[in-house]
């Protein structure tokens, strides 16, 4: 026993001296790498490789069928003078500016409303959250029917409210179409924002608001000076989600307005879809996607920076 065991420590020490690289630290690093490698693989295959391919395609004249040809940055310079693209970007920004505060205020209001103990609050929380569960396309079709002139229940309601006739077509002006789409999106997305903000509200320790109240702060003052500042990290998250989602808007307009009337409701992603899959110009579509991605990254980064320091407060 002793003789068989004795060489093992000797060789081990002998081996450790010339090759001491497999230290405890290295071992843990390797284990860590092994553990994250599945995630890296997924990110690589489904995000990084397509990203690089998109960029590669954007440097080519790349039709759906047929030969592709290297054109360098031509697609990018073409986009700068493309009226259709610039119009769609402007419309997307307009939509984002319009809908972000609406979503935010309604989400926060609902979160404050349901932020109380008891069963009724849970019931309302569920009711407000239900539209989130429906798919975006299904919700768009639902509202398209609801607002259809002559047959939709919403036009019936509007007659009773004195807002129009049974035959008025809300999709016939770009403002009207935008309002119907925005109503649909608010109905659909507010519940999600409410849940996120609610979790932020519930993370605020009761002692702080209590202390503020003892110091004489009314409900409005304690909301503005205590709740909102402490909510900032959640606000950052909600705003980034909401702005990114609005900049990427597509299905609601594709289904409800088909870009009309007279192409006044075409979003950036809609334009990318048209370029790639109606005009079959994949290279140019890829260049437009790359531009949108840069804008999206920049907007998110700015928002993060603006709201970051509160993470340490």
């Amino acid at each position: 026993m002793v003789t068989t065991l004795s060489p093992t420590p000797r060789t081990a020490t002998a081996r450790r001296r010339p090759t001491p690289w497999l230290t405890q630290r290295r071992r843990r690093q390797l284990a860590g790498l092994a553990l994250v490698s599945p995630a890296l693989l997924v990110v690589g295959i489904f995000f990084l490789i397509p990203l690089v391919m998109t960029f590669w395609m954007s440097l080519h004249d790349w039709p759906l069928l047929g030969e592709h040809r290297w054109v360098g940055l031509d697609n990018y310079t073409r986009a700068l003078h493309d009226r259709n693209w610039l119009d769609s970007v402007m419309f997307t920004l307009k939509y984002t500016v319009f809908i972000t505060p609406l979503l935010f205020v309604s989400g926060l209001a609902l979160a404050v409303l349901v932020n109380r103990p008891g069963r009724p609050a849970r019931v309302f929380q569920t009711v407000f959250f239900l539209p989130v569960v429906i798919g975006f396309a299904a919700a768009a079709y639902l509202w398209l029917y609801l607002a259809q002139p002559g047959i939709g229940p919403l036009s019936d309601l509007s007659v009773h409210a004195g807002l129009g006739t049974r035959e008025s077509n809300w999709f016939s002006t770009s403002a009207g179409a935008l309002v119907v789409v925005v109503l649909m999106v608010v109905w659909k997305v507010t519940g999600m924002q409410m849940i996120l903000l609610l979790s932020g509200l519930q993370a605020i320790p009761a002692e702080i608001t209590e202390a503020a109240r003892i110091d004489g702060a009314g409900p409005w003052k304690s909301f503005v000076h205590i709740v909102l500042p402490l909510l900032r990290p959640t606000l950052a998250l909600v705003l980034v989600f909401s702005v990114a989602g609005s900049l990427l808007a597509f299905d609601q307009f594709f289904i409800m307005t088909a870009g009309g009337p007279s192409n006044s409701t075409i979003t950036a992603v809609y334009q990318i879809y048209r370029t790639s899959f109606i005009n079959f110009d994949l290279g140019y579509g890829a260049a437009l996607s790359a531009q949108l991605m840069i804008v999206l990254g920049a907007v998110s980064a700015v928002q993060m920076l603006l709201l970051r320091k509160t993470d340490f407060s």
């Binding site: 069928l65 307005t257 109606i278």
Partner: protein
């Protein structure tokens, strides 16, 4: 020695493979084995009946895959580009010039020449299948656009239900009379936000008046022709006088049929598929008339599908055999029995809708129908936000100048054509 033998075997193997490929490519080869066919989901009703009949009477078999209508062009395009496409594809004829020009379809000139009835196949279909002198598909199913009118409303409005309008002026008079009935009745309905609908429904007005929307070779757009102006102004009058249903302005094609089915619409331009819908509905006593020109004359859009063999097809023998069979009397009769207009002008009178004279108008319209030829059809016409749809939407429903809308669309369409 051993090495040489191995090389020889390998070469023989290669030669055998090559030979196999050539054999399956040949039209004269025995059609055995299975070929795959892609069709769209709106063909589900008849496509399996058709392949069923073929499979039970032939040694070769055809297997159908149904692809969603809305994404057929993209799916087929990507599959063809990556070599994973089907052997046979049923393709909307307006897309044929595009696919033929991109080299994804097999040359079927010789196959078509073998058909004894090739000269009685729909002329519009045959024209669309030709690219640079070669034929890339055979006519398969037909569709024609006509004017449907509500006979009850015509009677109520004091119009003769057996004398449908024959000019723009008469259509306007009929629409005004129907609107005058009140009660939410309208003279006309269209899909004002739909490019594909309006090449089918609106362009025949232009053709019937002697105009064009594209040149014969598809190399120049003619959106600014005076006949297009007349037709746009005709529709604008319908809209501005309140004779057109309000949904017309924003309909992307989803609701115009059901709006007519509500019984409150005098006239609508639609296709053969709608005869079946209305007949099954039993609610409306409807008439079918050809689409009219400004001062008379009639025209129709010849739509439908062609059937093609892909360039990368694995079983070309069965594919060739099937596409030939698809145009023969047995196959075309199956189509006719399922309310699809046949593409055989020599048979249409005897196999299609023989019990209902309303079908006869469709059969005749198909025989004389037209289809614009363009390799960029999808971008200039079918795109709901493209030049054609935008021009119609602006000119008919917008308050601005009709000619300015035409000029803008003309420029945009020509730019797309020139870019290829």
């Amino acid at each position: 020695m051993a090495v040489a033998a191995a090389v020889a075997t390998a070469l023989l193997g290669l030669a055998a493979c090559g030979g196999d490929d050539e054999n399956t490519s040949s039209a004269t080869d025995e059609p055995v084995g299975t070929a795959t066919l892609w069709a769209r989901d709106n063909q589900k009703g008849f496509i399996n009946l058709l392949t069923g009949a073929y499979n039970s009477s032939h040694e070769g078999k055809v297997k159908v895959s149904v692809v969603p209508t809305g994404s057929f062009v993209q799916k087929f395009g990507t599959a063809a580009a990556s070599g994973s496409g089907p052997d046979i594809a049923s393709i909307d004829l307006v897309y044929l010039p595009y696919f033929a020009s991109k080299g994804v379809l097999d040359d079927l000139t010789a196959v078509q020449d073998e058909l004894p009835w090739k000269d009685s196949l729909s002329e519009a279909h045959r024209k669309l299948a030709v690219y640079e002198g070669k034929t890339y598909a055979l006519p398969f199913t037909a569709e024609a656009s006509v004017t449907f009118y509500n006979k009850d409303l015509f009677t109520k409005a004091g119009l003769d239900p057996d004398k449908p309008p024959t000019s723009y002026a008469q259509m306007l008079d009929a629409a005004r009379a129907i609107k005058k009935l009140g009660g939410g009745n309208y003279g006309f309905v269209m899909a004002g936000q739909c490019g594909g609908c309006n090449i089918f429904e609106f362009a025949p007005h232009v053709w019937a008046s002697g105009g064009e929307v594209l040149s014969q070779d598809g190399r120049s757009a003619q959106f600014d022709s005076p006949e297009v102006t007349d037709a746009l102004e005709f529709y604008r009058t319908l809209w501005q006088e309140g004779l057109m249903a309000p949904s017309s302005k924003t309909d992307s094609g989803a609701t115009q049929g059901s709006t007519f089915q509500s019984g409150k619409i005098g006239m609508v331009n639609l296709g053969a598929f709608f005869v079946q819908t209305l007949a099954a509905d039993h609610k409306i006593d409807f008439g079918v008339a050809p689409i009219v020109g400004k001062d008379g004359g009639t025209a129709s859009f010849a739509g439908g599908d062609e059937i093609a063999v892909t360039a990368g097809a694995k079983n070309k023998a069965v594919a060739y055999d099937f596409v030939k069979w698809a145009t023969d009397e047995q196959a075309q009769t199956i189509l006719a029995e399922n309310s699809i207009v046949p593409v055989r002008t020599d048979l249409v009178g005897s196999i299609y809708g023989t019990d209902d004279d309303r079908y006869q108008v469709l059969g005749e319209s198909m025989s004389t129908g037209r289809t614009p030829y363009s390799v960029v059809e999808n971008a200039i016409i079918n795109d709901n936000n493209g030049p054609w749809a935008t021009m119609i939407n602006k000119a008919v429903f917008g308050g601005g100048d009709v000619k300015a809308a035409q000029a803008e669309a003309q420029k945009a369409a020509q730019a797309i054509i020139d870019a290829g």
